[in-house]
């Protein structure tokens, strides 16, 4: 029983401290607000968007931003850029979340095992090395060569590419936590390895995993846009910010805004996650709290 008590000394107050610290950081707050806006836009896309993402208006191509009915203008086929952007954000977030989930679900257990049992460390490290040997674009190239480019394949490629870093982060945390007094205490009470991992190591590694997830998210969002831009990711007619950019590049001098808005949306998502993630890391790291 003592073990349970030492595990989370004053968790409630720690949580409160983290929130206070997050709210106090102006950049973190800005990032949080950006994220809230972006997530709301993505979730509510079908409700907010004035048109369907693939709805063409042949009578109204290349409308300027601010035209009545088309806030951000239209593209070469008269598709409403604002509507396409909303659905594009939705797709970006979907791919981002899928790849983060993949990295967390696969990376966390492997990281825990590698950190806890030295015997497994070698095997898992070799696996990590092999995965790291393939840049994400190459994984995506391979997957789309095998089963065709798609949203799922893009998310899988991006997720696989992030698994090694996730393993390393969790492994590092496990190595650190393994040496703490409460784990040594649990060991003396004959707790099994798996029990220690799940009830002591994992709960204490969660904050590092969350921080890493906020690092992966913008990488995955940019990655999805990049793959779709190259034609290796989302396939039309599904809208994607990357596809919008690739389309817009073809008539860039005629309608520069068609390239500017989707890019801004990507920046908004990534800046939001980067700012929020930085603030979260500072808030979760006790050694940083005295910095300000």
């Amino acid at each position: 029983m003592t073990v349970v008590e030492t595990r989370n000394p004053g968790l409630g107050s720690a949580r409160g401290r983290i929130w206070r610290s997050l709210l106090k950081s102006p950049l973190g707050l800005t990032g949080g607000i950006m994220l809230a806006i972006v997530v709301a836009l993505g979730l509510l896309a079908p409700l907010i968007a004035p048109y369907g993402p693939a709805e063409v208006h042949f009578d109204a191509p290349f409308q300027q931003p601010g035209t009545v009915g088309y806030i951000l203008g239209t593209d070469d086929l008269g598709r409403d850029i604002f509507s396409r952007m909303l659905f594009g954000i939705r797709v970006s977030l979907q791919v981002g979340i899928l790849s983060v989930l993949l990295a967390v679900v696969v990376g966390t257990p492997l990281g825990l095992l590698a950190g806890y049992w030295r015997g497994l460390d070698g095997v898992i490290s070799r696996l990590t090395d092999v995965t790291l040997a393939f840049p994400f674009l190459i994984i995506a190239v391979g997957l789309s060569a095998i089963s065709g480019p798609s949203l799922t394949n893009a998310a899988i490629a991006l997720g696989i590419a992030q698994i090694p870093t996730m393993i390393r982060v969790v492994r590092g945390e496990t190595l650190r936590i393994k040496e703490t007094d409460f784990v040594l205490g649990a060991k003396t009470m004959d707790a099994s390895g798996l029990r220690i991992i799940f009830s002591h190591v994992l709960p204490n590694a969660v904050s590092a995993i969350i921080v890493q997830a906020t690092v992966i998210m913008p990488v995955a969002v940019i990655g999805e846009a990049l793959l779709s831009f190259l034609g290796l990711g989302i396939q039309p007619p599904t809208p994607s910010l990357g596809i919008m950019l690739s389309d817009a590049q073809q008539y860039i001098s005629r309608a520069p805004t068609a390239a500017i808005f989707p890019g801004l949306a990507i920046v908004l998502i990534c800046l939001g996650f980067n700012l929020f993630g930085d603030a979260l890391r500072d808030a979760l790291d006790p050694t940083n709290s005295s910095r300000k």
Partner: protein
């Protein structure tokens, strides 16, 4: 030192073997029968079978794998199914473009990143640090292909400062060659510069807090001198590590940068091969990038142990 090198070398060999197996098995997963594709649609079953025999597709997987490795080691990557050209020739024609582009981008990123990092440390808490931090954050959050499109739109098309596309071999005309690569290199280097800046700043701040810096300052060395002599040297280790870690991103970035600026590089070869299902080229490209990536990482690690003697002993953990 020798121990470390041997361990590291051995690990790379294992990784290489495993990676080649992944590529080999991956290629076998590709849809379509290569013998059927080679024989054409009107071929008789006997003809297809003959080609199958000739390609060695009837042999066991192990024999096929060993043959595959043997061919790769001899530099025989087969022929492109699309153009019939030797894959080796295609690689030789496109690889220099990408290598020049990447090297140029790394130089730009290191110079800009380290400079901004030093500025951020030197002016802590004042506006130059704020500016440098903001630049780094933008560099991390702005996708470089978007930046590339904007750069073409505003720097190349509107103001004519740089050519919007095109490639001149550097060995043929160095001035025009570098001029044409400048904008792509800057675009490719931005996110790397951002990461280098952040890490340089962090490592400088750490170094300036250490005892040996305090001693050096107490001895009467100026802050500037200490910064260059100790801070910079330590941040060099960080820069080397970062380049190793960011290499994958750099390769992906190079592919998309080549696409935007219409450079005839390795990235274009890769994408063309994927879209035309040119399997021999895909196989060669994937394998070469992977091998190159493993070897460069090995080189980075060795370099790293030369700069930082503490790493040498004991290997990883």
């Amino acid at each position: 030192m020798l121990n470390y090198l041997v361990t590291r070398l051995w690990q790379s060999v294992v990784t290489l073997i495993l990676a080649s197996m992944v590529v080999f098995l991956g290629v076998r997963q590709l849809p379509g029968d290569p013998a059927l594709a080679m024989a054409g649609e009107e071929a008789t079953p006997e003809r297809v079978e003959a080609i199958r025999e000739q390609l060695g597709l009837n042999e066991s997987l192990v024999t096929q794998y060993l043959k595959f490795v043997g061919n790769m080691l001899r530099g025989d990557f087969g022929q492109s199914t699309r153009t019939g050209a030797q894959v080796t020739d295609l690689v030789a024609a496109t690889l220099p473009v990408t290598l020049w582009l990447s090297a140029y981008a790394i130089v730009v990123a290191v110079v800009v990143g380290v400079l901004l990092g030093i500025i951020a440390e030197r002016f802590r808490g004042r506006w130059p640090e704020w500016m440098a931090n903001a630049l780094a954050l933008i560099g991390l959050s702005v996708p470089n292909f978007w930046l590339g499109i904007l750069a073409i739109l505003y720097l190349a098309v509107a103001f004519g400062l740089f050519p919007a596309s095109g490639y001149v071999p550097i060995t043929q005309d160095p001035i025009q060659g570098f001029y044409h690569l400048t904008l792509p290199a800057i675009i490719l280097g931005t996110s790397l510069a951002a990461v280098i800046m952040r890490q340089t700043r962090a490592s400088m701040i750490e170094t300036m807090k250490t005892d040996f810096v305090r001693t050096a300052r107490a001895k009467g060395l100026s802050r500037q001198r200490v910064l260059v002599r100790y801070g910079l040297r330590n941040s060099l280790i960080v820069v080397v590590t970062i380049i190793g870690l960011q290499l994958g991103g750099l390769i992906s970035g190079a592919v998309v940068t080549e696409r935007i600026f219409a450079l005839p590089g390795f990235g274009k070869l890769t994408l063309d091969a994927v879209f035309t299902r040119d399997y021999p080229v895909i196989q060669a490209v994937v394998l070469l990038i992977t091998v190159g990536y493993i070897l460069i990482n090995l080189a980075v690690d060795i370099l790293y142990s030369v700069i930082n003697p503490r790493i040498r002993v004991g290997g990883k953990s």
